[in-house]
Symmetry: C2
Subunit: 691 residues, 2 copies
Amino acid sequence: MRRSPLLAALLVLFTSCAFADEGMWTFDNVPHEKIKAAVGVDLDAAWLDRVRMSTIRLSNCTASFVSPDGLILTNHHCAESCLDDNSSAGHNLVADGYLARSREQELKCGQQLADVLMEMENVTAKVQAATAGLPAKAANDKRKSTITALEQQCEQQSRTAKGGPRKCEMVNLYEGGQFWLYKYQRYTDVRLVFAPERAIAAFGGDPDNFQFPRWCLDMSVLRAYGPDGKPAATPNFLRFRADGPRADEAVFVSGHPGSTQRLLTVAELEYLRNSYLPRWLQRYSELRGRLIQYGKTGPEAHRIVEDPLNGIENSIKVRRGQLDALLDERLMKAKRGEEADLRAKVAANAQLAALTGDPWADIARAQARGAELYMPYLYVEQGAGFNSRLFGYARTLVRAAAERPKPNTSRLPEYAEAALPRVLQRLEAPVPVYPELEKLTLSFSLERMREWLGPDAAIVRQLMSNESPDSLAAQLVGGTQLADPAVRKRLWDDGATAVDASTDPMIVLARSIDAQARSLRSTYEDEVEAPTEAASEKIAHARFVAYGTSLAPDATFTLRLSYGTVRGWTEQGQPVEPFTHLSRLFERATGQEPFRIPDSWMKVRDQLDMQTRFDLSTTNDITGGNSGSPLIDAHGQLVGLMFDGNFHSIAGDYWYDPELNRAVAVDPTIMFEALGKVYQAQELLAELRGR
Amino acid sequence: MRRSPLLAALLVLFTSCAFADEGMWTFDNVPHEKIKAAVGVDLDAAWLDRVRMSTIRLSNCTASFVSPDGLILTNHHCAESCLDDNSSAGHNLVADGYLARSREQELKCGQQLADVLMEMENVTAKVQAATAGLPAKAANDKRKSTITALEQQCEQQSRTAKGGPRKCEMVNLYEGGQFWLYKYQRYTDVRLVFAPERAIAAFGGDPDNFQFPRWCLDMSVLRAYGPDGKPAATPNFLRFRADGPRADEAVFVSGHPGSTQRLLTVAELEYLRNSYLPRWLQRYSELRGRLIQYGKTGPEAHRIVEDPLNGIENSIKVRRGQLDALLDERLMKAKRGEEADLRAKVAANAQLAALTGDPWADIARAQARGAELYMPYLYVEQGAGFNSRLFGYARTLVRAAAERPKPNTSRLPEYAEAALPRVLQRLEAPVPVYPELEKLTLSFSLERMREWLGPDAAIVRQLMSNESPDSLAAQLVGGTQLADPAVRKRLWDDGATAVDASTDPMIVLARSIDAQARSLRSTYEDEVEAPTEAASEKIAHARFVAYGTSLAPDATFTLRLSYGTVRGWTEQGQPVEPFTHLSRLFERATGQEPFRIPDSWMKVRDQLDMQTRFDLSTTNDITGGNSGSPLIDAHGQLVGLMFDGNFHSIAGDYWYDPELNRAVAVDPTIMFEALGKVYQAQELLAELRGR
């Protein structure tokens, strides 16, 4: 149940760290004594409950309720897809920003969800009992069907329960050491209230990304609506402390860190370093170049590529930082040391040693097999050879048609009953599809599939024996009707008969490769995933015996709490102060993207208080998925909005460096200054101030 | 005197290997006994002299004389710049090929040179005496000035000598272990006689590059002219053996392998693996994407990017193979073993140990310092931040104006007297400059310089405090007059006064960064290059004491001989045959680039003998720079034209694997079949057949 690379890629990724103590802690296992010792604060149950129920999981980010009427605060970059989907050639919300001056002007975000974690149930015993004694492949299959069944049962029961219904999701902690059912209240109607211009939200663009000092107003405001079409009532929310935090003050981050890999074995880290990361970086560096160049062909092209390009550039910085970290011999030495320590503890305990065996060797073997299987699995099953939103629709329709008639526990997990509403929501959402962009990404990915699998590979011959990547992409994108949501909905509703009979070229493509893709997947799952899961569970058990739960689990895009303080660091002998101020923003501006200050700010420049704090750094241990998280003081007040980490924080995926890793947030003072003087958003300010 | 990364990047790079015995041997140290033992051939002095004087060094490739009238055989990809420079919007010689039907139609290759090695003089004692006892930095400076003086003296003396004048170049073998003066006869007037269409020369394009089996007619024919404007008389030439070689036959390659790194220390290899290669691959993967996308904007754009794109894609494959090789733990283990063996031999010899010290630690320290200095050095001094032909002209003019008035031995080596004719030839050559391509590459490189040095770096603030990479590139390319060869020549002739007074924006740029660039260079040379050179010389001396010259030196783009046999290999349990045949070419064709067969071939398809041998593989140990090398039989006849290696051959940069590494050549039979039936080149055929 590891997060697949594809899913991880969807998360807005960045990483960071905490004080002398690391950890993204689950709310059932908050280390009260450590926190008291480190930052002198004793968090009580009421604080934790209110913070938990004020914290929101978005599709790929975190957010929080900031008013009792469903008002949501998150980052600009977390709302960029919504801004993009509501834009058109003449109306660029990403560039121009948006302010709803009334509830009626709040714009629907077609694909956005807002989940709030209401309950957590430990089901480790049930899952482990189901797989006990089975060989690895059978255990892997059984684990998946058990999870599907437990999730379905949970959702069914919640429908009639008080406060229900709930969205139920299995969470695997400690690499197979614990299984939990997390139960969410889900809001499916989320609307856009406010966003500033991207030029100020992401001032400095990619060059400044993962840097601090920083000057980004990376904020946006959304609102959750109920099924009745009215703003949701959200009695649990965080109140702003408008003057922001002090240097060295204790601060907390509640949010959904996406993925860390601190518990991986050395063999797994070496695979990432030697194969996965270098190839990923080459592939996406080229795609970055293609998108940049396409964006220069005109203003509309420029607008179209902006959102995907931001995502890719962010991920490139992350992967680079990850690769640098894994190439740092200090890190690998520390990892070898940790592994040796655990192995020694296992060896010293005869009963544990007999139970554990040598799962590290099992994982190394599985990794070697994975390296052999990975390229076709990546390109054909994971879709890296078919990089196109339209192909994604076709794959979904073909797979759903085949899976939905099956019993729930026999399906591919992403088509289980519990997952279908989200699948359908994405399929139906009337988001724009840009044919030129589709052709670009599809041609690119077909060309790289041909390069990496080779021109004589069966699937390459099948698709391109009379075509080039360009001509095939043009035919597929030009011929398909799947850009139309109504067409997609009809195929979904009509099911297997309609999908099997369809002559839509994208459907034909998805159908024609499906058997090969499924076969690659099951080989990969049986020969790589299954032995890795089995071995990881053994290591997790050994780790519990050796260390208990005094270590935090790796991040899994589920709710975590991190503690820390507002603090800078020392960079090559020079101190970096924890706060930036407005004055320096104007000094760094060049008048050219991405260092251009929007006209709205230039017009009121004389009225602005140049000493206003802008962004700040803290020692909290956070990572990608924490974007949009609230920064909270000891009294539960909102004192900042997380949006990034410094460059050192990227190594936080693998280890925690208290000297260098820093999280980066927007200070409340600049939010209030801008909303008041630049955007004249008096209504919104009133709601944020509690009227 | 290591080959700089920039110079290495100019070479057409590929790599390969030999039979059970590795080595690219200098002609003064041909291992006769090894050759006899391995392939049963005893090469005599006449064979070696004739082969040496029939072999040509082009700017970035090898070639050979194949008639007494100066006719030259090399690869199509070695003549691609010449084809490109002779093309225009309506007339694409790269795509369409070219055949001169008379001497008058032979087209000048403006930048091409043809050098033939006439003499070799060992000057190790002179160079080492000049630097003896000096500390590393002083020795590094003294070594350079000594080399400049020796080269100049050699050229001066040759002007009045019999057979002169000669082009004299210092060659550093065994990483500072030997210094030789190589004396060349230089032809500066080289013309194009024949080239097939690129579609057949590079059939399979980038996907098939570094692959075998293969179907490429990667040939072109040039001719050397004398200073009198008449075809050069070349009594030493290789005669074709039209039926090609047999499987398992002994074969030899004479040529100019560009660069191998088999004698580097482990610390140097780790630096390549951890820093240099991953970053290079990211940078050029993005540029690849930008060029591909720009090429889709129209047929003329497509034509313009083809040549640079081919070079980049070839280099990307090489660097990928290099990175894979260095990430292969087997290789690093072997390297650690070799290093430990030599260190043990040093330690066992008290006198040698005292003389040697610990140069491995010195190099490790220099590498660590190099890693700190590299990014600004790369972007500012090496010009990675100013990727533009026009900037290159400006840099040359600014530097030459400052250097030429200095005494010869005080100049930067690339502006020494001996180097100036080549510098001027490049500056004057009327090659086309494409403003859109210039803007693309310049904007790209400025953007990456800003990314890697940071937006607050002094040079970035200096250049882009009010500009974006795009706007700055547009101003520079739009405003400069340097695309005009006459303007360049005038500035060269008028020297420092004119250059200092110029308001041409590209000259102004080159001038404004020159002090910083020189300062970065001297720091890098003093703190990285000098200690590395000093330590390498010590290791080279220890290696001579331990092993003599029984190891071949690393490749240095100087003349070498490799021996081997015509042979396939076993790939994942399947045999790969050493010959391909024409019939399969037609089966693999898709009708789309890069698997499209030209019309000229389709028209005469019925007349072609489908059993004709096409390409072949051999065990020879070769590498990039060997492109265009003759494959020669025991009797000195031409039996093939080297153009590539298989994918395994790329690891040959660092070690030699007799099981897998193979060199790839064009078979003579397909050359004759195509020249006769497809191209109707009867005159040329007659000359190749010796009339």
